[in-house]
Symmetry: C2
Subunit: 374 residues, 2 copies
Amino acid sequence: MTRPAAAVGASVDDIDTPALVIDLDAMQRNLATMAAFAREHKLKLRPHAKMHKSAAIAKLQVAAGAVGVCVQKLSEAEALADAGVSDIYISNEVIAPHKLARLAQLARRITLAVAVDSTLGVDRLAEALKAAGSSVDVFVEIDVGQGRCGVAPAAAGALAHQVVSHGLRFAGLQAYNGRAQHLRGADEREAAVRHTVALVRAAQASITASGMVCPLVTGAGSGTFAFDAATGVYGELQAGSYLFMDRDYADNQTSARAPQFEHALFVKSQVMSRSTSHAVVDAGHKSHAIDSGLPRVWQHELEYSNGGDEHGILRPNATATLAELPRLGDTVWLVPGHCDPTVNLHDHFVVVRGGLASGVVEAIWPIDSRGCLV
Amino acid sequence: MTRPAAAVGASVDDIDTPALVIDLDAMQRNLATMAAFAREHKLKLRPHAKMHKSAAIAKLQVAAGAVGVCVQKLSEAEALADAGVSDIYISNEVIAPHKLARLAQLARRITLAVAVDSTLGVDRLAEALKAAGSSVDVFVEIDVGQGRCGVAPAAAGALAHQVVSHGLRFAGLQAYNGRAQHLRGADEREAAVRHTVALVRAAQASITASGMVCPLVTGAGSGTFAFDAATGVYGELQAGSYLFMDRDYADNQTSARAPQFEHALFVKSQVMSRSTSHAVVDAGHKSHAIDSGLPRVWQHELEYSNGGDEHGILRPNATATLAELPRLGDTVWLVPGHCDPTVNLHDHFVVVRGGLASGVVEAIWPIDSRGCLV
């Protein structure tokens, strides 16, 4: 565990670099905007905590109206439960018997749900829960265009039937289309949601044909939630990135239907080398994930190019001159390309109140489930 | 801090997934091969510990003949020093005064060196060392084709002169060309080294013209070290990746001049979803870095495609059929695309003796400087 890059009460200037910094004012505006959207649309909000991995943030989301959070891994759920989060949905499959035994133990102390997409998975889950004497909500995952996990919609009814035949609670459908989130055009995303919803309806028909009801459809992400909400099919939204708003999501074309969010997550970096043609900052891809592209330089006409694990190279962008280049020792703020794996590189959030220019460190939040892979 | 994915003495089958696993037999062969190469060429070996971030491994390297290790960040040096590594070179610039004050304190307890590439950096370093009453070796970094940090070769003499004018020890030139390491053709890499060496000689001439001698040239990586060694210019090799050998380095065309290395670092993963067309493993890019491309599936005719943060999608490769697809629950071993940032995602190495098929966990090594960014 590394030590935090600043102490509570320090000024922004005194945050060591590179550091992962939350603009708390911006984050709270994003939090309130999404909570209001869910309220207005009478939808449950269960933000994805795979993004922030922080119990402190999960609790703020619940305080603002969220019913709980999602995670992707059992160990994430355990870490957040240990830090006081009491309602967690593992929106992913768990197959290994020793993991299922742990999951069943976790279900004894928090409200827990999990996704399934195989008969083997359901059988093993039922066995583990029986052994522990605990229960969970079970969602049947369907493949709605992601091409990853999930059964075909027509197979949903049979799997749901297997769930209830074991005496487990069938809680609904897991229907998330990750590919749709980053289609740049708003029309493209809306079209992808139409396709998704047709598949969800087919799954619902399969469930009805099996003589059951589908209590809930859960899914949606920060790129499509407004379209998902408008379909009337989703009862619960899982969007997570809205809270921090990374460069990749900001590159999406906006839609009049969706509220807008601000960048609230930054990497503070420092120029540690300077030539006549470029500046080098101390933040490379060990400081921010680049799976969804490079970071954007905040409020400067500079282009960031990849300098490897520990360096980033800055040059004036197409509209700027060399006068724009920062000097040796200057601070440069970066907007990460993808927030989820960026957060996973750090042990703490440095939480700033009052803006990046002259704010004060209000808190250090541990990233409780950082590195929780199993 | 996450808990290790296995206990010492466990069988390979019992390692939880996903987990970062070292094939210790392969690693020790790689260790011995590079140590022998350095001995035969009468070169110092100072492997880059930015790659493994482990004091246990650094000590094995030193025991095999390395003079010490390199790191890129002050906090990496501190973490390794805390874990018992006593000779460390920060092959990178440190500019912030508060960092330099820490660096000067660290120099009181271990043998420490650092790189410089600016007069401001030298002035601040001298001031910090004076305040602490400590000393370090100072390397002048020159830009040898990386286009990142480092002064122009012609400016090396003036900067070295400034170093000694402060009463600091000028230890030589830092001359690493990262770009050259991954040129696929052996001829291309050799040509890049010729270019690098011409720049090193220019820097040496600049130092001689300033009335000084250049005690050492340090640099080289796992892609070029054999060519670097053959030039007669380098006195010290910094290669690090040879020890684990990632997919990206293995994709380089080999050269008769360079000894060969084996893959020794793997991500153990498990199939957690399976359709008729593909299998999904529980290791995505939160388990292995993809900045240098996707992992290779070990010993199976399968292609890994990106399934996001927590998933990988497997399909038969061009020469295989669907019969090659693993079943739900099966183990799949992945060779990461790039070892350095992959290691940085994990808290522990699970160290296996006796091979991946039927070996036993011999040790759990903490990744001491994981996340050490500042």
